[in-house]
C-alpha cells in the first residue's frame, strides 16, 4: 500500500514495485525513493529496459525458450547437435545447463511441470509441441532435465510415455548427492539412487 502523503507519482511507483516477487511494502518504498534520487538517465534506462523486455522478447517457435530473435541463437547454431534435445521446465534452466558447457545439443522449454492437484495438465505445458518436434524427425535422444521433484518426475514419465511409440531414446538426468551436502541429512530417495549410480574411484 502506498504511504499516506506520498505524492501520487511516487505512490504509484511504490505500488508497482510492490507487485514484484519478494518485494514487500518497505522495499518497494526504498526502491521508489532510490529511483527518485537517481540520475535521470538511470531512471530512463530502467524504464526502457522494462518496456523492451515486453516488446522484443518472444518465445522461440522451435524450443520455446525466451529470445529476441526467432529461431533463437541456440536453435540457429549450426555447430550444435540436432539429434539431442534437452527438455527443461523453465527458460532459466537453459542458462544453467549452458553454463556447465557440457551440453552441445538443443533445448525444449516446457514452461512448467505437471501438477495434477493444482490443475496443471499436459495441455498447459509445451508438451504437444515437443511431440510434434520429435515427430518431425532428426531427434535421436530426448534428455529429461526436469526437477527431481514429484511434479518434475511425473512430467518426465508422462513425456517418456508419450514419446515411447516413436522409438527414440528418452533419458533423464542422474540423481545423486549435491556437492557440499551432508550424508547424515540426505533423504532416502536421493541416497538410494546415489548408491545405485555409484562409480568406480
Amino acid at each position: 500500500m502506498p504511504e499516506a502523503g506520498a505524492p501520487e507519482p511516487i505512490a504509484r511507483l511504490i505500488q508497482e514495485f510492490s507487485k514484484l516477487p519478494g518485494i514487500g511494502p518497505k522495499s518497494a518504498q526504498r526502491l521508489a525513493y532510490h529511483v527518485l534520487r537517481a540520475p535521470e538517465d538511470d531512471a530512463r534506462a530502467l524504464a526502457r529496459a522494462l518496456t523492451d523486455v515486453k516488446e522484443h522478447v518472444v518465445l522461440c517457435d522451435t524450443c520455446f525458450n525466451i529470445t529476441v530473435r526467432n529461431p533463437c541463437t541456440l536453435c540457429d547454431d549450426e555447430q550444435r547437435d540436432r539429434s539431442l534435445v534437452c527438455v527443461v521446465e523453465q527458460p532459466l534452466d537453459v542458462l544453467v545447463v549452458e553454463r556447465t558447457g557440457g551440453f552441445r545439443g538443443l533445448y525444449h522449454v516446457l514452461h512448467g511441470s505437471l501438477n495434477p492437484i493444482d490443475g496443471v495438465g499436459p495441455e498447459q505445458l509445451r508438451i504437444q509441441e515437443l511431440l510434434r518436434r520429435v515427430e518431425g524427425g532428426g531427434v535421436v535422444e530426448v534428455i529429461m532435465a526436469t526437477n527431481p521433484s514429484l511434479e518434475g518426475e511425473a512430467t518426465s514419465m508422462y513425456v517418456q510415455r508419450l514419446l515411447q511409440p516413436l522409438g527414440i531414446r528418452v533419458t533423464r538426468l542422474a540423481r545423486g548427492l549435491p556437492s557440499g551436502a551432508d550424508i547424515e541429512y540426505m533423504d532416502d530417495l536421493t541416497l538410494s539412487r546415489a548408491l545405485e549410480g555409484r562409480q568406480e574411484l
Partner: protein
C-alpha cells in the same frame, strides 16, 4: 482448537507444497493425530536444505513442528517412506496424487482422523507394492464412509425395500441405491450393474488388500470408477483436479 504444545511431533503424509518467497515452502501435511495442517519449511528450496527431500509431496515423514505466530514452522523432518517404486510409475503416481487431493479436499484443518490416515497409508503402501486403480476405488469408498457419506447399498435408500438382483439406480442425491418404484423421487443418478453393487457392498467389509485381490473385470472396474466418481463429485461439488490426469495417463497407455 485444543492447545498444542509449543513444539510438537507428527507423522504424516505431505499432501501438497506451495512456494513462499525466495526459498520457503508452505506444506500441507495430513497426519493421524494432528489431522491436516499447514506449516512453513524455511529454506527448503535451497540445494543444501537438510529437510528438502524429507518434505516432498507424497512422502510419509516424521516431523517436528514449532508453533509460530501465524503459521507453524517445521524444525526437523525425517522420511518414513518415500514411496520410491510408486513414484517411478506414472500410473501409480497419478492414482496416489488423486488420493492425496481427495484427502485435502474432504478434510478440514486440525481435525484428527486417525482412521483416514491409516486408510491413506494403506492405499499408498498398496500402490507402492504395484497395485493399480482398484486401490483408489477402495480408498474412495472407505473415505466417503469414514466421513459420513457412505452410500446406502443394502436396500432402497428411500423406502427400505429389498432390492432384486438387477441393474439399480445409484443416486448420490438420495444417498445410495434406489428401487424401481422410488426412482422418480431419487433426484437423478446412474444405473449400475449387479457386479458394481456387489463390489460396493464388498468394499464395506473388505480390507484394501482383499478388495484389490478381487481383480474385477475391466468393464466392471470402469463402471465402478464412474459410479464412485458421481458420489465424490456430489459431495465435493466438483471433480478433483487430479481425476483428469489419471484419465489422461490411462488413455495414453491404451493407445500404444
Amino acid at each position: 482448537m485444543a492447545a498444542r504444545p509449543r513444539v510438537y511431533r507428527a507423522e504424516g503424509v505431505i499432501l501438497r507444497r506451495r512456494n513462499l518467497g525466495e526459498a520457503d515452502s508452505i506444506l500441507t501435511v495430513f497426519s493421524g493425530h494432528e489431522g491436516k495442517f499447514e506449516a512453513i519449511a524455511r529454506g527448503v528450496r535451497k540445494a543444501r536444505s537438510r529437510m528438502r527431500g524429507h518434505l516432498e509431496p507424497l512422502t510419509r515423514s516424521r516431523v517436528l513442528v514449532a508453533q509460530g505466530r501465524n503459521l507453524d514452522v517445521f524444525t526437523q523432518a525425517e522420511t518414513v517412506d518415500a514411496y520410491r517404486r510408486l513414484r517411478e510409475s506414472l500410473d501409480a503416481s497419478a492414482e496416489a496424487l488423486y488420493c492425496l487431493e481427495l484427502v485435502d479436499r474432504f478434510t478440514v484443518e486440525r481435525e484428527p482422523l486417525p482412521d483416514l490416515y491409516a486408510l491413506l497409508v494403506t492405499a499408498l503402501d498398496l500402490l507402492e507394492a504395484g497395485n493399480g486403480a482398484a486401490v483408489t476405488r477402495h480408498f474412495e469408498l472407505r473415505l466417503l464412509a469414514l466421513l459420513g457419506y457412505e452410500p446406502h447399498v443394502d436396500g432402497c435408500v428411500l423406502c427400505g425395500e429389498r432390492l432384486p438382483e438387477e441393474e439399480t439406480l445409484l443416486s448420490p442425491a438420495a444417498g445410495g441405491l434406489v428401487c424401481r418404484r422410488c426412482r422418480a423421487e431419487a433426484g437423478g443418478g446412474r444405473i449400475v450393474a449387479v457386479p458394481v453393487v456387489k463390489l460396493m457392498r464388498f468394499a464395506r467389509r473388505a480390507t484394501a488388500a482383499e478388495f484389490v485381490a478381487l481383480a474385477a473385470p475391466p468393464e466392471v472396474a470402469q463402471e465402478l470408477r464412474a459410479a464412485v466418481a458421481d458420489l465424490v463429485r456430489y459431495h465435493l461439488d466438483r471433480d478433483p483436479n487430479a481425476r483428469r490426469f489419471v484419465e489422461g495417463v490411462s488413455a495414453l497407455e491404451r493407445k500404444d
